[in-house]
Subunit: 467 residues, 2 copies
């Protein structure tokens, strides 16, 4: 057992470092082998972006950059990795020797984590010698896709909860261990206040929450015994789970516990409802607590919730103080993937694009400019070429240099700062875009410069391919 983590392995994975370079699709390496054979080492620029927003999403939140940069910064093919590739008998020795000496020496422009973005806007652009830029594709999409998916889902619950705290509860049904960790981080960025995930909570200082499951209550001969035992051990942080047998009867037992705790100078923190008609039950339980003088005991609900359920509960006036939201948030159940791609947009100074139906992408290194109205709200974006000047009335490009020649240009911002940035960004969105259903469309225009370059690249490609 190692005495400590290999540096970087946790955040970028938790892949083990010496395996990380093999976390890729085989075609990245077969393409690289041909580039190597043909001496194609000129600079290439790739854009990472989402082609189309999923249904009922009018915006996304950027996430995953820290993992991307740590991956690029530490990228190496270890000897073990080379040995595995050699065992495939597909690659020639000189290419494998080349890989063994490869590191990432390129530049990255990126949006800060927590930034609001829209379809076609690059989250990041990588410029590097062709092979270095190409073979990062799989990992970079994997890191950003997962975290943007969950951040962009979780913010919907935060919006629906209208200021009430949300605890991310979904670790058990998040696909795999890494997504479990990234879910806790992503949900926190999006504005969730707590997580049940002990490893994530202690890793990133995300406040932890959790008290008891039904198994706990049923392990005791009597529910009241289970409640008492918990309050004895955790007199200041007990949240009693009420629905193991009869929620209303359990609420009365909760009052008994609250009285005993109060007599000892403590306070019952809350009660939790995890099944049944949550509108009716939360009202009845609230009434029972209030009637006994415990209006400060919180009512927490959970159990298969998502943002639509949260909105319905609050619209119905259910007296709920906090939500525990798990599975459907962590798997982004209504939209379980993003159409995220990493596309070559220039190589060796030539703009490139494919012409596949419905999949045309914008060429060249780009900038994303954003304009605010007099109320401070976002009014519209402009997708432009990076070398176009900042247009009048717009802020500087959201795509900023973050890595040069393989070196980080600044330390990673702390998670709290990313979370604040995300909250400020979401607060600046037009209200229309924050609706959970049938969301409006934010205006993203294309600059004249970019449009011209795109047309020229298209004409050139069509001319060459027709020849």
């Amino acid at each position: 057992m190692p005495s400590e983590d290999p540096p970087g392995s946790f955040v970028s994975g938790p892949l083990l470092l010496h395996e990380a370079a093999l976390f890729t699709d085989l075609y990245e390496l077969t393409m690289a082998a041909v580039y190597f054979r043909r001496h194609m080492h000129e600079p290439a620029t790739f854009s990472l972006f989402v082609r189309r927003l999923p249904p009922d999403r009018a915006f996304l939140i950027a996430a995953g950059l820290e993992d991307v940069l740590e991956f690029l910064r530490t990228f190496r093919f270890s000897q073990q990795a080379i040995a595995r590739l050699r065992s495939l008998s597909r690659f020639q020795s000189d290419f494998l020797d080349f890989l063994e000496n490869l590191s990432f020496t390129g530049d990255v422009h990126a949006m800060a984590e927590g930034t609001v973005l829209f379809a076609d806007e690059p989250l990041l652009e990588v410029t590097a010698p062709m092979i270095e830029a190409q073979i990062m594709e799989t990992a970079l999409i994997n890191f950003c896709h997962c975290q943007m998916l969950i951040t962009s889902k979780a913010v919907r619950s935060v919006i629906a909860a209208r200021g009430r705290p949300i605890a991310e509860f979904g670790l058990r049904r998040t696909p795999g261990t890494d997504a479990g960790m990234k879910s806790a981080r992503s949900a926190f960025i999006a504005g969730c206040e707590l997580t049940s995930n002990v490893l994530a909570g202690t890793e990133w200082a995300i406040p932890l929450t959790g008290t008891m499951a039904h198994s706990y209550v049923t392990a005791f001969p009597r529910e009241a015994d289970a409640f008492d035992a918990f309050a004895e051990s955790f007199p200041d942080s007990t949240v009693l789970l009420l629905d193991s047998y009869d929620t209303i009867a359990a609420a009365r037992k909760a009052v008994d516990v609250a009285r005993r705790l109060a007599a000892q100078g403590h306070r019952l923190a809350g009660v939790r409802l995890d099944s049944g008609d949550l509108v009716t039950l939360s009202r009845k339980v609230r009434d029972i607590l209030d009637a006994a003088g415990f209006s400060d005991v919180q009512v927490v609900v959970s159990g298969g919730l998502d943002e639509l359920a949260v909105e319905q509960l609050l619209s119905a006036g259910a007296p709920i103080d906090a939500f525990g939201i798990g599975t459907r948030l962590n798997v982004s159940a209504d939209a379980p993937y993003l159409d995220m791609v990493y596309k070559l947009v220039s190589y060796a100074g030539r703009d490139v694009l494919k012409l596949s139906e419905g999949k045309e992408t914008w060429v060249g290194s780009k900038a994303v400019y954003r304009r605010r109205g007099s109320d401070g709200r976002f009014e519209g974006d402009l997708l432009a070429l990076r070398d176009e000047p900042v247009p009048d009335g717009f802020e500087k490009s959201l795509l900023e240099p973050v890595m040069r020649a393989g070196h980080l240009l600044r330390p990673h911002p702390p998670l709290s700062q990313i979370r604040e940035h995300s909250a400020a960004q979401v607060a600046s969105l037009p209200e229309e875009l924050k609706k959970l259903r049938a969301a409006g469309e934010y205006p993203v225009r294309i600059s004249g410069g970019l449009r011209g370059r795109q047309e020229r690249a298209k004409e050139e490609t069509e001319r060459t391919e027709r020849a």
Copy 2:
């Protein structure tokens, strides 16, 4: 950088071993703290099962057991883990000392990976001193949920493809790194033949596939140059991607490549279509290849496919030899989670259950018996108490002892064996259950013994709680 993996860390995660015990919900530990305070160390039995099948699923395939057993076998709270828990200021020192000396000493009964199972049937049951059994909940569900979800999704594409090979292509959009690895393994168990995931392929000897992306084609000034360069480097394994510009024109260039390769004693392996009307394009491309005498060049299709698309393509008579299926398979897009739970079914010799609406679970340690008809097909299952004898006409229980007192009872079966077992299981299913839509329901009966025990436990619980 470590010179090799810590043992077990890859398969069980790839969480790093010393962190693994913290991969849990906080409430597992708060409950444990109370059990510790109250000296509740009697044996508990927990059942891991799926409460309801998702829409359009008539069966599931068991997966994840190897990870579960490795996790339990190596389970320890490291000193670093204890230090993190201490930093929360929630737990008393004597409890943390207890955790630091804890390992898993219990028994596990489980279904072999690859076994077909249904709602309410335990995938596994854990019997151990209460704390040991309780705190495994989060990790055990996480490991099995992810792998069963993907295995049970992937088999639908295997069925739809009617014997044509499927390559799992979804690494980039699988949530996180661990799910990326587990997806490759799960898809292979389900009958997919290839993966694009280099790390998974080299880890588990899953055949790898992958040739070129659109970025590769567009990096060359002319598509024909891109094709030639690839064929030169990989003369026996080239699959040309045809849809970067004009699929039909590209098919004619593929014929040129095939001719040159043939003249050198090689063979063009295939062509790939990734966009457009795949029925029409596959026919036209097949015709072009056949007319040139290259009927042995395979037509591979990909691009946002799932099992329904595969079925439609083949029903329309599209001449497709192989499929590349990614995102929608790996996230199980139509059913992105399972209602999988880990429920306490007995403690200290007492059957326990909760009475929450719609969430009643079967008490006690159980057996799952299956009966085959004269044609060898599965006819029906019987969920029974473990100590009931095997009923006439049924095979021995699918839940077999796999761990005793914390020790493995047998080595993990090789992946190839799990895959063969899964194929045999699926072949034994009634055809009705293998339909992609509106699937039938498989009969799972409850034994008289179990029903009686359940009724007694319910009466006892109601009597106690009413008292």
